[in-house]
Amino acid sequence: MSGDVTQELLALQVQASTEIEAVFTVDDLEKLSQQYLGKKSRYTEVSAELRNLPPETKKTVGQALNHYKQTLTQAIESKKPTLSSSASQKFDPITQDDSLPGIKPALGHLHPTTVVIRKINSFFRYLGYSVYEGPEIESNEFNFEKLNLPADHPARELADTLYIFEPEVLLRTHTSSVETRAMTNEELPLRIVVPGKVYRNENANMTNNAMFYQYEGLVVDKNMSMADLKGTLNRFVQFLYGPEVKTRFRCKYYPQVEPGGGLDIQCTFCHGDGCNVCKYRGWIEVLGCGMVHPTVLKKCGIDPEVWSGFAFGMGLDRLVMLTYGINDIRKLYNGELVFEELA
């Protein structure tokens, strides 16, 4: 007899649990509670018969009853708060729906160019570089003369200069002018990076703007070589594009350096197969660099027999545009950059 009853209670318990789980309203839950635990329930019936049972059966059935009641009571209690209610219970649309959006604080944003500058600064700060500042209104001397770019140099006609007083006062055409200032004014050795605005006399289009950003770096110390330059830039490019990036270091001409070089990365879009982004070259030019030209060192009052140095530079805007999927440089700097969180 005891075996039959305990089996029956267990079956009832399973049935009840399933029904409780499937219930939608508090009323229905209450009905189930009555049905399985109430006065007319089988539970109450068995409980009433308990005292008439022989002692050995009494114990097993008693335990089964306790288990039955505990399990179902718990199931009912934990179901209650999840249910929408009948008239007797207040509907709470917030606790009821865990998909509701939260109330967000105002979300401010840094300009993407700032984000990229900060990221690159963090790399060079770690390697002991200072973030150095210089004027944007610059003299012919620091912007051109000390950089081995005399008046007749072809590079000067390519860099369409914006003049305030031709030829002496101008808007810097590159951040290299800050490097000649540092070399002229600071104690050696020197390890600096210079992020900043530069200017060219150009009509704006999708890829060129009269103002844009450059990022340059300079080391002047004893026994610096192309190997120090290459090691530094390889690590930098891996920091920027990931450790798997493939690089190419090649000879390139810049008047400020000798020997001069260019560092390319294999196109991260087509992996070298050739695409629109890399103009079907398979490679993207990332940095121009080289050993500081002895004439530049001399013009800044540095003895090239004692000191040597390397310099490197890059345009920042293209990197920013590729990173953030912006296809028009003007949008970065004309106030038409809007941050909207759509998530």
Binding site: H111, Y132, I137, P154, L171, N223, T232, R248, P259
Partner: protein
């Protein structure tokens, strides 16, 4: 530079794969600009032009590079040793004094037979991209591309008198090949006959004296000029020709003879031309450049342990002559075609690039980290930006080149801006942010919070000033001047100091838009006087405070902030003074001030007596100083 492979192959054996060739060329400094194309039955490479390498605007120059980089033999075209440029004469041409021309070498030919060029010549020029005209013109173009020296042939019958190379005269005009007439500038160089200019030196020939089917006698010339002069003429007239492209680089005076000898050979062969006489005006011959290269310097700059033999082998392949040599130093004579090599470092680059930049080891400087020269502005700008972003602001970077309707400061103006909307540098961050706001409104945002960290520019006593500023613009339906001020105060407190009156001028641009601009130097100065964290913001124990409200009446002109500051400063027993509500007008002369004061004892619990005393001192002070009394 377009490089037809069949042409290049004349002088050097090429790698079987074009990709290997372009990779090698790129590595040594001649980057492929566009993918190769098929023209006239050959692959044509497109290489970036190097500013300093006049020789690489010639097929032979590039063949020499390929030969050096791939260890192949360079096969130069054979010109007979006995070939003559004709009887020396001074009748063909003279160079006028003060002309930017270093050498002008002219050769006269008679009995010229004009004909179409042979197929091989047509194919070469087509592949390069020059139209074929007739054998004479084609030969001049062929030699130009082959050796890099532009040549020009005049129809002698169309010339009057002898030629003179001179600067153009004021008011002179010139009709070039293609029938376009331009006004010359005295800075332009011309080749003229008795009637006037028949060519623009280094640029283009004239319409009237060009070689035609009727031509029987020609004057062929090769020259070198001041490259800067040619470059400026080219820019001045927006005229870029194959000739100007080469003359605007540094061509050695010896190159004219190399080109003429090659052309004479071809003219004799293909046009049956007879050399008659030559006039060679050599004003300023280029001296030979002899440089020494120290092995130690090569090793220390390159980071590679080269041997002298390695360096010598590379330099030989590039056409440098090696002179006296010690164990530590090489004497190097620079060939005429390498006008870019002028000092030791240039030689070092030659050795290093042919050896291969990919062979350079990869290491980091091991010297001690130098002093930190980071501008204090940098950290402050970052901090300000972070605080404002934390308040919910979006950063803008707007272009300082602008056109302001009205400037508070004397603006810095540009002399030569191409754009009439960008004639000066901004004197305030406001217009840029206002323009950004207008655009943001299109996105129907309820509230727009913008800031920019950047410079303003102005003139002061004949100096040019640049000041780092932060501009803050707030706009939205519930923006009041007090909310704008609240952002200013919040920013100052976050930077670590109490907001000062007058640190910035608050402006309401309209009823819902406020702006202020802060000077970074001022902020930096304030910040340096205080700790990172605002002192008043830090508590280490719960204060035992007693609250008391003061409902006061004050004359209209009394400044509430000053009253609050004065009360706070009155006694150490006063812990905090807050404004219970904003003042209301009570009468024509009086307004309400509702202050909530908290007292505390510096030690232990504050006593009733102490509160009484403090309260009394507050009332006495405001009565005396501000004519302010309990209501």
């Amino acid at each position: 530079m377009k490089v037809p492979l069949t042409w290049l192959q004349e002088y050097v054996s090429l790698p079987t794969s074009t990709l290997d060739l372009t990779d090698r060329l790129t590595a040594i400094g001649h980057m492929q600009d566009h993918l190769p194309v098929e023209v006239a039955g050959t692959s044509v490479l497109d290489l970036e032009v190097r500013q300093n390498r006049a020789d690489c605007l010639s097929i032979i120059g590039l063949a020499r590079e390929v030969a050096a980089a791939t260890i192949q033999e360079l096969r130069l075209p054979v010109v007979s040793e006995t070939l003559s440029l004709g009887q020396a004469s001074d009748s063909l041409v003279t160079i006028a004094p003060q002309t930017e021309c270093y050498r002008f070498h002219a050769v006269r030919f008679d009995n010229v037979q004009i004909a179409p060029s042979p197929d091989w010549l047509v194919q070469r020029l087509q592949a390069y991209g020059i139209k074929t005209i007739n054998n004479i013109v084609d030969i001049t173009n062929f030699v130009m591309v082959e050796v890099g020296e532009p040549l020009h042939a005049f129809d002698r019958a169309q010339l009057q008198g002898s030629l003179v190379v001179r600067q153009a005269k004021v008011g002179e005009s010139f009709t070039m090949l293609g029938d376009k007439t331009i006004q010359l500038d005295p800075a332009d160089i011309v080749v003229a006959d008795d009637r006037g200019p028949v060519a623009m030196g280094g640029m283009i020939g004239g319409l009237s004296s060009g070689v035609s089917d009727q031509t029987t006698s020609i004057i062929l010339e090769a020259a070198t000029y001041n490259q800067a002069s040619i470059r400026r003429s080219s820019l001045r007239h927006s005229l870029r020709t194959e000739a100007s492209l080469r003359h605007e680089k540094f061509l050695h005076t010896e190159l004219t003879e190399v080109a003429l000898r090659r052309a004479v050979g071809l003219l004799q062969e293909l046009a049956g031309a007879e050399v008659v006489e030559q006039t060679d005006c050599l004003i300023q011959p280029e001296p030979k450049t002899v440089l020494s290269m120290r092995l130690a310097r090569l090793q220390s700059l390159s980071g590679i342990h080269f041997s002298l033999d390695q360096a010598t082998a590379i330099l030989n392949r590039l056409g440098f002559e090696l002179g006296a040599q010690s164990a530590t130093e090489l004497e190097v004579t620079v060939p005429y075609f390498r006008t870019d090599v002028v000092q030791e470092e240039d030689i070092i680059e030659e050795v290093l690039r042919i050896h291969g930049y990919d062979q350079i080891p990869d290491r980091l400087p091991t010297t001690a980290v130098p002093a930190d020269l980071t501008s204090p502005n940098y950290a402050l700008e970052e901090e300000i930006s972070d605080v404002l972003v934390g308040f919910g602001f979006d950063e803008q970077i707007t272009e300082p080149l602008t056109k302001e309707e009205f400037s508070v400061l004397e603006p810095v103006k540009l002399q030569n801006s191409l754009n009439s909307e960008k004639t000066m540098l901004r004197t305030s961050l406001k217009p840029g942010l206002v323009a950004a706001l207008e655009y943001q409104k299109k996105f129907r945002k309820t509230e727009v919070l913008l800031f920019e960290v950047g410079r303003i520019y102005y003139r002061e006593n004949d100096t040019f000033q640049e000041k780092n500023k932060v501009g803050v613009l707030v706009s939205g339906p519930i923006i009041s001047i007090l909310k704008v001020k609240g952002y200013l105060e919040g920013l100052c407190l976050r930077l670590g100091f109490s907001p000062l009156t007058g640190i910035a001028k608050l402006e309401m641009l309209d009823s819902v838009t406020g702006f202020f601009e802060l000077d970074l130097a001022t902020l930096l100065d304030q910040k340096n006087k205080t700790f990172q964290l605002h002192q008043n913001a830090l508590r280490t124990s719960v204060p035992q405070v007693v609250f008391e409200d003061f409902s006061l009446k004050a004359p209209h002109e009394v400044k509430v902030g000053e009253v609050m500051a004065a009360v706070t400063a009155l006694s150490p027993l006063i812990y905090r003074v807050e404004l219970g509500e904003y003042p209301r007008e009570l009468s024509a002369t009086e307004k309400s001030i509702f202050l909530k004061v908290q007292y505390h004892a510096t030690e232990g619990q504050i006593t009733t007596n102490q509160v009484q005393t403090a309260r009394q001192s507050i009332l006495e002070m405001v009565a005396e100083k501000y004519k302010t009394f309990l209501r």
